[in-house]
């Protein structure tokens, strides 16, 4: 049924925004982290969103013309921010270099908060679209009642 396409597209949008929210949370949580598995301070992460034609299975692609106009969204990559770390003079810190500077992640809390609000709103928009889809599907069940 075609109405399910709309639900799948909306849920892909929700999943992408949730993933984005996770990276933002990670950025905020690690705003003062000076050590990371890759070495050096934590580096800010950002998601890369990509649109792609919605198609479920090989069979569906084979039997119907691919719908290029209905596209879902997907997180295809997580970028690591290239901004130089913030150097703070803290000679007593265990991670201080020989000159007494500690490298802190270059994360702007205001920027992260703004992105968080943006992600929340986008998520809500997708929820509204999903509910509208559900509403329409339920309405179509009323035909002939």
């Amino acid at each position: 049924m075609d109405i399910l396409t709309g639900m799948r597209v909306s849920s892909s949008g929700m999943a992408a925004q949730r993933m984005r929210m996770n990276t933002i949370s990670s950025n905020i949580a690690n705003i003062n982290t000076t050590r990371s598995p890759e070495g050096g301070p934590y580096r800010r992460k950002d998601v890369v969103l990509e649109s792609m034609p919605e198609a479920r299975s090989f069979g569906e692609i084979l039997t119907s013309a691919p719908q290029k106009d209905v596209q879902r969204v997907q997180v295809t990559d997580v970028l690591v921010d290239r901004r130089a770390p913030l150097m703070k003079y803290e000679p007593d810190h265990v991670d201080a270099d020989e000159k007494g500077y500690v490298a802190y992640p270059n994360i702007n809390l205001m920027e992260e908060m703004a992105k968080m609000i943006q992600a929340t709103r986008s998520y809500e928009a997708n929820v509204a679209a999903m509910n509208a889809t559900k509403d329409m599907a339920m309405t179509s069940l009323e035909i002939g009642r």
Binding site: D2, I3, T5, G6, V9, S10, S12, G13, A16, L49, E50, S51, E54, Q67, D69, V70, Q71, R72, V73, Q118, R121, S122, A125, N126, A128, A129, M130, A132, T133, D135, M136, T139, S140, E142, I143, G144, R145
Partner: protein
């Protein structure tokens, strides 16, 4: 038996079908509201459906390719016209989705869909009334 479902009911059926497609297109725009480079899509069918309603009563002119489709069945052959919305402002990441417009289009579309379904129900209720001998 002549058509059990009249022209109006068939037009309403075509409308609800096309509105489902439009709903999918709007959902896709909303899901991709923050995808860099994504172009907002728009779907038009009102004009095509209006033309089909006008030409459905004409006699079929044969199946010559390039001729207008007339006669019964013109309504069910209405295809939606999907294109990239030209009436947009481009973001600095190349995305052209206007979330407010999409949300209002979504609400409008689902209200119109419900209206079409209600009208189909009214038509069917009238049929049922006749078939049950005036509700007896």
């Amino acid at each position: 038996m002549a058509d059990l479902l009249d022209k109006t009911t068939r037009a309403l059926g075509a409308t609800s079908n096309l509105r489902q497609t439009r709903h999918n297109v709007i959902s896709s725009n909303i899901a991709n509201a923050e995808t860099p480079g994504y172009q907002a899509k728009k779907l038009d069918f009102e004009n095509a459906l209006g033309r089909a309603l006008n030409i459905e009563d004409m006699a079929p002119a044969g199946n010559e390719p390039g001729h207008f489709m007339t006669g019964p069945g013109a309504i069910s052959k209405v295809r939606a016209d999907i294109y990239e919305n030209p009436d947009v402002s481009v973001n600095n990441d190349g995305n052209t989705v206007d979330l407010e417009k999409e949300m209002s289009a979504l609400a409008e579309n689902s209200i119109m869909y419900k209206a079409a379904v209600q009208l189909i129900n009214k038509k069917l209720a009238a049929l049922r009334y006749a078939a049950t001998d005036g509700g007896r």
